[in-house]
Symmetry: C2
Subunit: 190 residues, 2 copies
Amino acid sequence: MNADEATTRLLDAAEREFYERGIQSVGMDVIRARSGVSLKRLYQCFPSKETLVEAYLRRRDERWRRSLADHVAANARSAQDAPLAVFDWLHAWFAERGFRGCAFINSFGELGATSPRIAEAGRAHKDALRRYLRGLTAALDVADPDTLADQLLTLVEGATVIAAMSGDPAAAHPAKAAAATLLAAARTPQ
Amino acid sequence: MNADEATTRLLDAAEREFYERGIQSVGMDVIRARSGVSLKRLYQCFPSKETLVEAYLRRRDERWRRSLADHVAANARSAQDAPLAVFDWLHAWFAERGFRGCAFINSFGELGATSPRIAEAGRAHKDALRRYLRGLTAALDVADPDTLADQLLTLVEGATVIAAMSGDPAAAHPAKAAAATLLAAARTPQ
DNA sequence: TGGTGTGGAGAACGATCATTCTCTATCGTA
DNA sequence: TACGATAGAGAATGATCGTTCTCCACACCA
């Protein structure tokens, strides 16, 4: 097995285990066992657990945002419809087997106070998501697209937290309805 | 020192340390040192770390919700204003020194998959908050107060997560503005 | 064929942690 | 004052974890 394949297998195992059970609950030996990569190779690819966690978060960030953007690009019928498609994608995500909330919120709560690198990875993810939503609202004819994007971001995060803790994917519905109301109100200022 | 005082000091130390640094990052010896309660007494009051964590969460739940309800009761000028007062209280909370997000979201992400009791404490907190918000929206003349309460809950959770990760208390502002828009729209169905 | 380096398996190390145990001192009571 | 129970300090225990080290097998090259 070459170093590239080992890296991929390590990140796959890390994502599965860390996301499912939390970071501190998963030892490096579990990563070794689930990836089939020896400990020596593991520490060649990632010199510490923290670097492995950071790499897991950064890869997940990219994949998560690409999946969201792809869905919105493929399913939104208009620029006005795009922000609502975000919540359809969220609902599907919430309903996935093994959904356990936002990996960045979870790892931030667990290690944000201890590890600046993990805290920063979480901030980077949220910033990128905010930029994406601003891109969607900038295409609309509304007075304050940035504030609207911040409101949508608030709904996205809130729905994710509620879906995770309640275990009910329907948490996406009030969020989508709220987003629709905000969009309509932003289009027709009093 | 009697058992009651020991319990109080233990819960005080637990809340300070667990909230600030996360649960798994704080050992029982730290709780002993910061509370001034001996290990023997500690384990008489709480037979395991998990029971201490659960007690910390339940006490924090009550205090947090009472503080919110007191603020809203004291500052809301009308039933229509009450939901917005929630976000003023949130903003003040976000600006507190040592604010580090919602203790229940954090502990859920850290240990929800491992400890059913901690997961349940988080659900209980969110359910109680939802009931409180439903109480506020039930007093309004709106078509669907329960859905409105769920939307407010989504905004509350989202603002809390964003404020924690960004470190910026201003996350309360777009949430409050969104709440105002939703309230106005609920009062005047098209 | 012999030497060298790489990789894997897993033992070893050192630290930390939850929990329990030991020893000693203190205190209320007769 | 003498005794029995209780409490505190902190050592001990047993487990886990991140990380490193040892040992051996195998492949590549002269």
